[in-house]
Assembly symmetry: C2
Homo-oligomer: 196 residues x 2
């Protein structure tokens, strides 16, 4: 496989930034579907795909979500064109017979709620990262956030599916470069890496 060109490396990682403010330019439902059509290909363990996504873009939806967030995040949710809730289904194993037909993968998780919760957390988070990367590839800016009341989001958005719990949320839009602050530091390889 060939290395991608510098433009791709810059757009996804080297020059990419998280956004708190967006340009006054709409994001259509087709854009959100396009994000899913890319991110869905990212790998999860035994093809679990435990993420359950709610793309919030109506005024009522934004108010309901903002009410669950810290003050500064509530303002960001109200102002952003879209905020997506990355939920995780702790009963994802019920879908494995068709998502992973090679083996009885459902049986690996039956009766083991702790393993399901850890696996749902790990794999829905991987999917959340794929969402961030996919949105950037399509030219969208992303603002991931953890500052919200998970139980309140579950109550507001997942009462019909009680096995689903909020993992994290992210605003989406056309990022406003004028709103960016200087970048936070990143360490060189040797600080957090070891060769063995």
């Amino acid at each position: 496989m060939a290395r991608l060109d510098d433009a791709a490396l810059d757009a996804i990682f080297r020059e990419a930034r998280s956004f708190n403010h967006y340009l006054d330019r709409p994001v259509g439902d087709d854009d959100l579907r396009a994000v899913w059509e890319l991110m869905k290909w990212g790998p999860t363990s035994a093809n679990q795909l435990p993420a359950r996504l709610v793309w919030v873009r109506t005024p009522e939806g934004k108010e309901a979500l903002a009410a669950c967030a810290s003050d500064s995040n509530a303002d960001k949710i109200r102002a952003a064109p879209v905020t997506v809730i990355i939920g995780m289904d702790t009963e994802f194993h019920d879908e494995l017979p068709w998502l992973f037909p090679h083996a009885d993968a459902k049986a690996w998780f039956d009766g083991n709620a702790e393993l399901r919760r850890e696996s749902a957390m790990r794999n829905s988070t991987l999917q959340g990262a794929y969402l961030i990367v996919a949105a950037r590839m399509l030219g969208l800016g992303v603002g991931p956030m953890s500052g919200f009341d998970q139980g309140a989001v579950d109550k507001a958005f997942f009462t019909a599916t009680p096995s689903v719990h909020a993992n994290f949320i992210a605003t989406l839009g056309h990022g406003d470069p004028a709103s960016l602050h200087p970048r936070l530091p990143r360490p060189a390889f040797d600080r957090f890496n070891r060769l063995a």
Copy 2:
């Protein structure tokens, strides 16, 4: 921001595959450093960067790691040029004074081991996904795996840093396309997504 071209979308998501077998072609330490130099820019909450990575490429390292894995994964570890352990530091907050100098973010986590564990798990997993994407951007194949004994890996690789725990592992190399099986299914938008 512009949409990236189809070659990038294909290489990272649409045509990308997880690999179990690699070509007989070396992966140098410079390649591993290049993966870090890209993935380090991916966002984590309050710039936590809790991942601690061990890149295993010596015969002794591979044997030590293979001894902690399920039989089929042990064979993959022995055969792959490199296997990386994505560890997570549950005391990542000690680094926040320089990683996130805007606020006393360390204080948010002092004395709250449960919050630290959840946050280390979420954010090190995001970094693991960035690793997968970054490696693919550089032309490498990746084989992420969860089938191993976390406690045994901690004992074999993280005794000097007892706050670090294995999250998941991934083989790396130049993927052998001839070894691939047909792709597992991915659902259309409406199955796991909702507009609100």
